[in-house]
């Protein structure tokens, strides 16, 4: 019997573990939530997760930006206060449906999944320059180093096998699901540079080195097939019933090769601008206000060619211990997202079974894209139907404008 289905809960325990959760986290692996310990079952499931995280950009700022509002000085200042040398901002969205069927030890599964993932790193001056202008840098150089950005959106269709060994005290399950990947869009870029503004504003010196790749920009819709790849999801868990459980998952192991219409951009330039030089200011004055074109040629080296990106694979390892007659689960875990920006994340997880229909939980995280974040989770079961929503908003309450942590997710299934 799965610990998901253990009964019993109390209001005290609910209060005590309000910040804890079971392993249903934002950016979770949906298959782990639908795997059962039963010998025979079939489950049709769907899921949708969204997660945004950053260590400098605040929720209010992100909210105003997303809502296309005016970003006033107060909003910008709230971000300025958080800016460090390296700042992170990430975003992940995944949706999908799947079906799993198990009979005795063996089972099989199919799953269609849509994922969008972006992660960026930027320096303090870059943000200040973009949202505040260069006047604040008179007599200084705005440091534009260490910008890194990766974004990908892809769809996958996978089919896999499940093996569940229940013959010993320690039972274990292993599921492997390879998928074919349709690449929709991809962007990746990194840059270094600086912009010097003289104290009299009479000269600018701009130095920039940029390398960027992006998929065919002509077609970016959901139906676009700009790249092809393979990936594999591996789920493994073992444990002693009603005592402890170890879960290991490896997801999105693979890469995508983007087609030859993809773009490659190299910028290696420095540019000094001291104003338009006029030989005789008393002669006729001609001001050309539109000078965009002359820069395109001098700054950009644009080619088209295919390129390959590694999918944002995730390794997640968690150890849980059951308490209170298997109604309370506490665990710790480690997760790492392979996207160059994220740092290893450690987390504490908890859940409590309030009734046979409801499990609630809370998770606390450290690492990833920000030092601290938290989520609330729940799982509701009504006969053959279950649904597990999750939200992430607590940081705003407890830490104020210290970063971004917004997210929501849901996994729902129908068990036959």
């Amino acid at each position: 019997m799965s610990f998901f289905n253990n009964p019993i809960c109390t209001s005290k325990i609910f209060a005590a573990f309000i910040f804890c959760s079971l392993t249903i986290t934002v950016y979770a692996q949906p298959l782990t939530k639908v795997l059962q310990n039963d010998s025979v079952y079939s489950t049709l499931y769907g899921f949708a997760d969204y997660y945004g995280a950053g260590n400098a950009v605040t929720n209010k700022f992100m909210s105003a930006y997303i809502k296309n509002n005016f970003l006033d000085d107060e909003l910008k200042q709230s971000v300025y206060d958080n800016l460090k040398d390296k700042n992170k901002l990430a975003y992940h969205l995944e949706t999908g449906i799947g079906f799993i069927h198990k009979k005795n030890k063996w089972g099989w599964m199919v799953q269609f999944q849509n994922q969008a993932h972006s992660a960026s790193q930027f320096g303090s001056d870059l943000f200040r320059l973009y949202f505040g202008g260069n006047a604040q840098f008179k007599g200084e150089t705005a440091n534009l180093d260490n910008f890194d950005f990766n974004s990908i959106q892809f769809q996958s269709l996978g089919a896999g096998l499940l093996y569940h060994n229940t013959s010993k005290k320690i039972d274990w399950q292993l599921a492997i699901m390879p998928s074919i990947v349709k690449g929709q869009t991809a962007y990746k870029a990194n840059s270094d540079g600086g912009l010097y503004t003289s104290s009299l504003s009479d000269s600018l010196y701009f130095d920039m080195n940029v390398a960027a790749n992006f998929s065919d920009t002509a077609t970016r819709k959901f139906s676009a097939w700009n790249g092809t790849g393979m990936m594999t999801d591996i789920y493994f868990r073992f444990g002693e019933d009603k005592n402890w459980l170890v879960t290991i998952s490896l997801t999105n192991l693979g890469n995508v090769s983007w087609n030859a219409k993809s773009g490659s951009l190299l910028i290696d330039t420095n540019y000094a601008y001291t104003g338009i030089e006029i030989a005789n200011i008393l002669d006729s004055i001609t001001l050309q206000i539109n000078g965009t074109e002359e820069y395109k040629n001098s700054l950009l080296n644009y080619t088209t060619d295919n390129f390959t990106t590694t999918l944002p694979s995730v390794i997640d390892m968690m150890v849980q211990k059951s308490f209170a007659n298997d109604n309370l689960h506490l665990g710790i875990g480690f997760r790492n997202v392979n996207d160059k920006v994220a740092t290893p994340q450690f987390y504490f997880t908890s859940d409590y079974k309030l009734s046979s229909h409801l499990i609630i939980g809370a998770n606390l995280y450290s690492g990833g894209y920000k030092p601290f974040s938290a989520t609330l989770t729940a799982r509701l079961s009504f006969g053959k139907f279950f649904i597990a929503p999750s939200v992430s908003f607590l940081e705003e309450i407890f830490r104020g404008n210290k970063g971004t942590a917004t997210g929501a997710g849901v996994v729902a299934g129908w068990r036959f």
């Binding site: 930006y65 997303i66 001291t274």
Partner: protein, 693 residues
């Protein structure tokens, strides 16, 4: 400002937007303000920017002098003389007419004569072939013998002409008292009559008869009356075919009129001089840069007339002008007509006449002739030709000869002086100005110029200064130009210069007046010594006598509010400035001149109306100087110009800027020298608030 913004948009918007775009709503954009600092322009103003249309002279020390040249007056060929339109009209009567020489004979046989002698005549005839004596017979007439030559002429009325009557006595007896009578058949009018007293047997006698005033018709009658002493009793061989042969020859006929078959002959052949109409000058040669000759011919002749016209002294590439044409026959009582115009450009006219001993003289040959056609036509001496030869719009490119001794008054002529157009001053005092009046003579004549007036006008201040001084009291002589190679030149100009300075005139005051107009009046005398070159004066159309003024003005001056005002055309491409909320443009002026400069800049719309000002009476401080009034460094002045949206809109509506600058030399009340290294470095920068979205 915009370039910087463009740069930002390309680089930062791309990457930052990458970070954020996935999160945004699809419709609309977030917005925020950025404050940007951008250089706009930079320039360096030196004295050559401030004083335009000038040539700056820099000496070894770097001291600047302003050299300026202005043209005052031109004396050219058309001022000296013109070739007037010349027309030669001639009515040509026929010089003479001549006809073919005509000759015809007719015999009167012994038989014909014997038939006219009663009794004896038949007897003689009966002895034909015998030898018998022929008795004497008196006054035998042959009766009218028809002479018909109407295939040669129908009628001829002669002015002069002659007829030779030749009688050959082929009879065996002498003939005495032979009277020959020729009369027109139509009316019996007598043409000729003559008597031969004796024509010996076998002899020939000729008589010439003048036909002057006679009219001869193609059908005539001839009558012979003759006597004979007979053979004197001596038997002679009787041959009735023996004859007296009469031969009539008409020649040297010059008819008044005739209807005849005419021989080829010249009707008119004239060689005539004529004068080109010019005034005061005596030309021996002219080359034309344009002009026409127009030929009109009329004829009353009822025959085709071949017309040859030539100007043997008018050459184009060495070939004289020659025209040949044929006038068609005129209808009876009417005229035939020919008209044609010929381009005379490039012709050289030798105006010395056919003997090369005169001036202004052309020569023409005119010849009219008829051809022998074999057709009978009526021509009379009263027929005529009318020829009108016109020379029109002749403009010489070059002329040679004696160009005359004349006096030309150069009336007061005012020219604009643009060097000080935009300059004004409360006090302006120059030193050491040098002014040269230059006469540059490109004509091959001597001259003398009496300068009557040279006045500088400052019309803005209504101030006038007349140039005066000892140097102006003496007229100056102008030497003739030299044409070393002859036409087409080039000529060597002969310059003559009158130099004025503070020692011999008030020239510094003249220029310190900051004139915008200069008035000149003078008298020019040409060839005051007369025809000293023996008709070798010359003139080219492109060359003349030029009167120029130039001056050198050391920029060593003292000025109080020396004002420059200029209108500058602004071509500002309209841009969407709705995203620029406000801006402050800063002018950084690093002044390296010993002058305080007070600036005003006004914006004008396309109707030249002031719509706003950028600057009003803002002062850029003078550079520091040492005790020699030499600049020791530069002085930086910053002037801020604030723009809101309204002012920015006006800026983009600006079609012209009026820039007013007034300069006051520092230290006050002292002369300062401007050096070539003195500049005002100008930078414009802006801080502007930009609305991003």
């Amino acid at each position: 400002m915009i370039k910087y913004h463009t740069m930002k948009k390309i680089i930062f918007a791309f990457f930052i937007s990458l970070t954020f775009f996935a999160c945004r709503k699809e419709n609309g954009n977030p917005s925020w303000e950025t404050t940007n600092a951008v250089p706009l322009l930079r320039s360096s103003l030196s004295i050559d920017n401030l004083v335009t249309d000038s040539l700056l002279n820099v000496d070894a020390s770097g001291a600047i002098s302003l050299v300026y040249q202005n043209h005052l007056y031109d004396f050219r060929l058309d001022s000296l003389f013109s070739l007037f339109d010349t027309s030669i009209t001639r009515n040509y009567k026929l010089d003479s007419l001549s006809l073919f020489e005509q000759s015809f004979t007719y015999p009167i046989s012994l038989g014909d004569i014997c038939n006219k002698i009663p009794f004896i005549g038949p007897l003689i005839i009966s002895q034909n072939g015998n030898t018998v004596a022929i008795p004497a017979f008196p006054n035998i007439t042959t009766g009218e013998q028809a002479i018909n030559v109407d295939s040669l002429f129908q009628t001829i009325t002669l002015i002069t002409g002659f007829m030779d009557i030749t009688l050959t006595n082929g009879l065996p007896i002498d003939i005495t008292n032979l009277t020959f009578e020729l009369s027109n058949h139509s009316n019996g009018s007598l043409i000729a009559i003559d008597t031969f007293p004796i024509i010996l047997a076998g002899a020939t006698e000729t008589r010439t008869i003048s036909l002057a005033g006679k009219t001869i018709e193609g059908e005539m009658d001839a009558i012979l009356v003759l006597s004979s002493p007979g053979s004197g009793g001596n038997p002679v061989l009787i041959d009735t075919s023996d004859a007296i042969v009469a031969q009539l020859k008409v020649y040297d006929m010059h008819p008044l009129t005739a209807t005849a078959i005419w021989p080829a002959q010249d009707l008119v052949n004239k060689a005539q001089p004529f004068k080109l109409k010019v005034e005061k000058v005596q030309l021996t040669e002219a080359r034309l840069q344009s002009g026409y000759i127009v030929v009109d011919l009329y004829s009353t002749l009822q025959d085709s007339v071949r017309f040859d016209y030539s100007l043997p002294l008018a050459y184009f590439n060495g070939v004289p002008f020659y025209l040949q044409t044929i006038l068609p026959p005129a209808s009876p009582g009417a005229t035939s007509y020919f008209h044609q115009q010929f381009d005379f450009t490039g012709y050289r006219l030798d105006l010395t006449g056919i003997n090369h001993d005169t001036v202004n003289t052309m020569w023409q040959n005119i010849r009219a002739r008829i051809d022998s056609t074999g057709i009978m036509k009526t021509i009379a001496l009263t027929d005529s030709f009318y020829a009108n030869i016109g020379f029109i719009d002749l403009v010489p490119e070059y002329a040679k000869g004696y160009l005359g001794q004349d006096t030309f008054d150069i009336n007061p002529t005012t020219v604009n002086l643009d060097i000080f157009n935009n300059v004004n001053a409360d006090v302006f005092d120059l030193k050491d100005v040098k002014l040269n009046l230059k006469v540059n003579n490109g004509i091959g004549i001597d001259g003398r110029l009496d300068l009557k007036q040279l006045t500088s006008y400052n019309t803005k201040k209504n101030k006038t200064v007349n140039l005066s001084g000892a140097a102006l009291n003496n007229p100056f002589l102008i030497n003739r130009a030299i044409d070393p190679n002859g036409w087409p030149g080039p000529v060597t100009y002969s310059p003559t210069q009158l130099s004025l300075n503070d020692n011999n005139s008030n020239v510094s005051a003249f220029i310190s007046n900051l004139p915008d107009k200069i008035t000149t009046a003078a008298t020019l005398y040409t060839n005051p010594q007369g025809n000293v070159t023996n008709y070798n004066d010359f003139i080219y159309y492109k060359d003349g006598i030029k009167l120029d003024l130039d001056f050198e003005m050391p920029l060593n001056f003292m000025a109080d509010n020396l004002s420059l005002c200029d209108t500058v055309v602004a071509s500002i491409k309209k841009a969407d400035i709705s995203k620029i909320k406000s801006a402050v443009i800063s002018l950084f002026a690093d002044n390296g001149m010993p002058l305080d400069a007070t600036l005003s800049i006004y914006m004008l719309n396309s109707n030249n109306q002031i719509i706003d000002s950028l600057l009003h009476q803002r002062t850029i401080a003078a550079a520091p100087v040492d005790n020699m009034n030499l600049v020791t460094g530069k002085k930086l002045t910053k002037i801020d110009i604030a723009f809101d949206q309204t002012r920015m809109n006006k800026f983009f509506e600006t079609s012209y800027f009026i820039i007013k600058a007034s300069f006051t030399t520092k230290p006050a009340g002292q002369h300062v020298q401007i050096y070539s290294g003195y500049t005002i470095d100008i930078k414009l920068t802006t801080d502007f608030v930009y609305i991003n979205n």
